[in-house]
Every structure is written in C-alpha cells, then in structure tokens.
Amino acid sequence: MPRGMFFRPEMIFTELVFSVIIILLCAFIYFKTKEVYELTKHKGIGYFRNAFLFFGLAYLFRFFVALANLADISLYFHRHYIMIISLVFTSFLSTIAILSLVFASIWKKIKTKNPHYALILIAVVTSVLTLVFGSVYLLTLINLGLFLFAIIVTYLNHKKSKKFSQLYIIYILLFVFWIFNLFNLIPNRFISFELRTIGYMVSISIFWVIYHKVSRTLK
C-alpha cells in the first residue's frame, strides 16, 4: 500500500505551528526595534535585532530539516539534498544569531574595527563543516560549543555587575532550548512527542518573554 506524503502528519503540524509562532515573534522583535535603531545607530541594538532576524531564519530552515526528516518523498535523492542544504543554512544562520547576541552585550569591549567579518568567518566555517559531514549531530555539537562560548563570554562580561541578571538566565534558556530543538531533528531520536511538545512550548514562552520586554520598553 502506498504511503502518504508524510510519515507522521501530527508531527508536521506541530513543527509547522511551532516554527510559525517563533518566526513571527522574531519578526516582531526585529521590526519593533527598527525605529530605535534607525534613530540611534547604536551598535548593541544593531546586534540585538540582527540576532533575532537570524534566529527567525534559522528556525525557518530548521523547519525544512524537520520536514525532510518527516516527509515520505519517494525519491530519497531529493530528500537528502533538501536536508543537507537546509542544515547548512541552519548552521550558518544560527551561528550568526548566537554570536550576534553575544556581541550585543560585549560590543563596547570589542577592539576590532569590523567584528562582523569574524562573525561571518566563524559562520562560514561551521556551515562548511556541516556540509562536509552532513550530520545533525555535528550541527548540534557545533551549536553546543558556541553556546558554551556565549555563556563564558557573557558571564565574564557581567561578573563585575553585582545585580542579578534576569536577562542572562533568559539568554541561557534561549540557547538551551535552541540546542534541544536541534537535538529533536536527529533521526531515530528517543525524545517522546509529549516531551518535545513541552520543549516547543517553553521555547515559545522564552521568545514571548523577550518580545514582551521589547514592546514594554519601546511602547
């Protein structure tokens, strides 16, 4: 009996709804900060809004990876290539997103004149590695490395500050759930549908909190 277009339609639906909500929240954050950036040309604001632009795009390509995972396209060849291309884009975009968020908080201490070249170079290296090995495992590991780097750098930057940074916790959760969402893409994974759905809901809540903070301060 021929199979349908997708192995598990309920998973596709969940992925679609999740991705659309995250992408919309990222777009709202990006456009909400447009005016304040155009007025000030503040570098920190520039990196901050770029981080959410690239997070939104990374989630879009992550959705394509999930789609290729779950779709039952009879020609394996196409599915494989869609998967690899989407993985490479996810790698590039997520690297830029994570590093932009780090740069947003440490930009005053960066001495290099054009730090965005370093950012693009690192993103290209991670993309090439993802292309060569074509593995979600590797992409998850690369992002885990970037996440640890981000945590250490922002911690060193804020350790002199005596006040407890709520934002630091939000960023940690944002990165943790990004890695959790990448981990979900690994074929034959052992995370249950229910646990995955809870993870998606927490991810949406994190982006919602950030969006709420942005719209509250820039009303």
Binding site: L39, T40, I45, Y47, F48, K213, V214, T217
Partner: protein, 91 residues
C-alpha cells in the same frame, strides 16, 4: 569626578540645548553650552547634520542658526524609552 557621557547622551544634550533656546541657537553658544572640546563638537555637529537631526537656518542678515529637525524632536521624545531599552537588554 563626573562620568564620561556616552554618544547617545551627548546627542541628547545638544538637542536639548537647542530646544531650551526656543529651538534656535548660534553655533558658538551651542559649543559653549555643550561642554565639549572643539574637535568633539565638530564631529557631533557633522554627524547630526548628516543624520538630519538638526538643520542650519540663515536669517536675513546671513547669520547661521541651528534648529532641530523633525527627526531631532523625535529623538528627544523617545530618548527615555531608548535608554530604558538599552538598560533592559544590557546593550
């Protein structure tokens, strides 16, 4: 010792000085009230003109006055929320 003003604060102060002088002031008193060195003032002045935050107006005798543009007024209006945003996200 007072803390060194950052870029956004200096821009705010310059625009505020102009606004407090009935939205029109000559360059020399603006330099004096802004508490900047001549070189710094020249840099900020150039930036504000280029970004269209201020405009130069000439009277009948050909004397130059500086006035805030719509963008300058907008900046003054939104300054508090801009600072709030930068502080909230530790940018």
């Amino acid at each position: 010792m007072s803390k060194k003003r950052d870029r956004l604060e200096v821009i705010h102060d310059i625009l505020n000085i102009i606004q407090n002088n009935h939205n029109s002031i000559k360059p020399t008193p603006l330099l004096r009230y802004s508490n900047l060195s001549s070189q710094s003032f020249a840099d900020y002045y150039k930036e504000l003109i280029e970004k269209k935050f201020i405009k130069e107006v000439f009277d009948k005798k050909g004397k130059k006055f500086i006035s805030p543009s719509d963008k300058g007024f907008e900046y003054l209006q939104k300054y508090k929320s801009i600072l709030g945003f930068i502080e909230e996200f530790e940018l």
